[in-house]
């Protein structure tokens, strides 16, 4: 389990760096658009759709990492009044539901990509399927990290709690 945890840790780190690079790239692209429009008096038409696509990547990857690190908004007042065993059961139920949603992101995201593969995206000139690749990739990580949470809990390892500032996971 520890070995797997090291591996998922690396995947999470890589996803976070990718998302961070995406944010910086978005900043650069829109800055270029502003510069071209207001200083060079010309307009670039692809920076806006390209940035929106990068935003999709960084949201879905960043959100998946949030499952591992436990930085999602949540509300678990009920769990304060429930005995430890029941709490662990409900946490795992919640992680299971999130896993299913991640699988849904993969499955239905893929269907959408297939259906739109023949379209061309305006200004970018690439296949419409690219619109849905981020949700599929995010779904893979959402499912992976949720399963990891269930496995860690079963193995008695610490799991990040949603809503905590300092996560226990590394």
């Amino acid at each position: 389990m520890m070995k797997i945890a090291v591996l998922t840790g690396l995947i999470g780190r890589a996803a976070l760096w990718t998302a961070g690079t995406g944010l910086v790239l978005m900043t650069v692209l829109i800055a270029a658009q502003v510069f071209w429009r207001y200083v060079l008096n010309d307009s670039i038409s692809w920076t806006e759709p390209a940035s929106v696509m990068i935003m999709g990547w960084f949201i879905f990857l960043g959100a998946a990492v949030g499952i591992r690190e436990g930085y999602h908004l949540s509300f678990d007042v009920l769990l304060y009044v429930i005995p430890h065993k029941g709490k662990m059961f409900l946490y795992s139920l919640s992680d299971l539901v999130v896993t299913c949603f991640g699988i849904g992101m993969i499955w239905f995201g893929w269907q959408l990509a297939e259906k739109t593969a023949g379209n061309t995206l305006p200004s970018l000139g690439i296949s419409g399927a690219f619109d849905f690749i981020p949700i599929v990739a995010g779904g893979v990580l959402v499912a992976l990290f949720s399963v990891e949470r269930i496995a860690r809990r079963a193995a008695g390892l610490p799991t990040a709690r949603f809503g905590d500032d300092n996560s226990e996971a590394t």
Binding site: R37, S45, E48, L112, K115, T116, T120, L121, P122, S123
Partner: protein, 302 residues
Amino acid sequence: EVTLRSSDTHPDGYPTVAAVNHMGDLLEERTDGRLCIEVSHSAQLGQEKDTIEQTQFGVIDMNRVSLGPFNNIIEETQIPSLPYIFRSVEHMHKVMDGPVGDQILEAFSDHDLVGLAFFDGGSRSFYNSQKPINSIEDLAGLKFRVMQSDMFVDMVSALGANATPMPYGEVYSSIQTGVIDGAENNWPSYDSSGHFEVAQYYTLDQHLIVPEVLVMAKSSFDKLSAEDQEIVRQAARDSVPVMRELWAAREAESEARVRAAGVEIVTDIDKTPFIEAMVPVYEKYVTSPVLQQMVADIQATE
């Protein structure tokens, strides 16, 4: 008893919404209440690109959309979106009611959709804050906002002006602050957006007369009996004259309001140089023999 769910981005009472509601009344009457239509207006179910996908997947049953979002999906829909392809609104009606219109409606069937009817979307012309446009030379160097589409950017460049794609909501203040000189739209939008307050010169060059389309989900259509399918098709056809009447009334109303505000309007303009300037645009976008034939057919329609 089946309720067909239809989407529209326009608000309640808008001609397209009213026309689909009218079609629903016809359906209810002709099927003794077995079929009816419920319109979700004001983009409640999403923007056009999204609702098209929803219709393809059969999440919703019907959809009233512009042809623009289809341009990258179905190549035949590009033809009515070509600048100056129609000589007048009457010419457009004739073409879309004829074999070319049927050919385009037929093309939807390869994409899990059934094309039912074409509605009017008005004719778009240029307006600006600088000077009256009487000839193509007057356009030189002016900056116009266009919709985010490569073809419209190319059209404006071919006319010698500069195209700036930007969101519709930013246009008013951008004209006011001089970031752009003008934009292009039809009478009702020129009126309702208030753009006529800041861009006082309107030239009716009618560069785009793009119809809109009413489509149905193939999965929903296939669930109906052959008899009901024909009733649906006929009711859609019967809603078209109603729609055209409502649209004309709305256009006249907007025109009267804008004229009363003292806007300078150029009506009689020689469109020939404008049309001639479109040669490179047509070369770029009318690529396949099928499309070239369609253009020829449209030009041959009297």
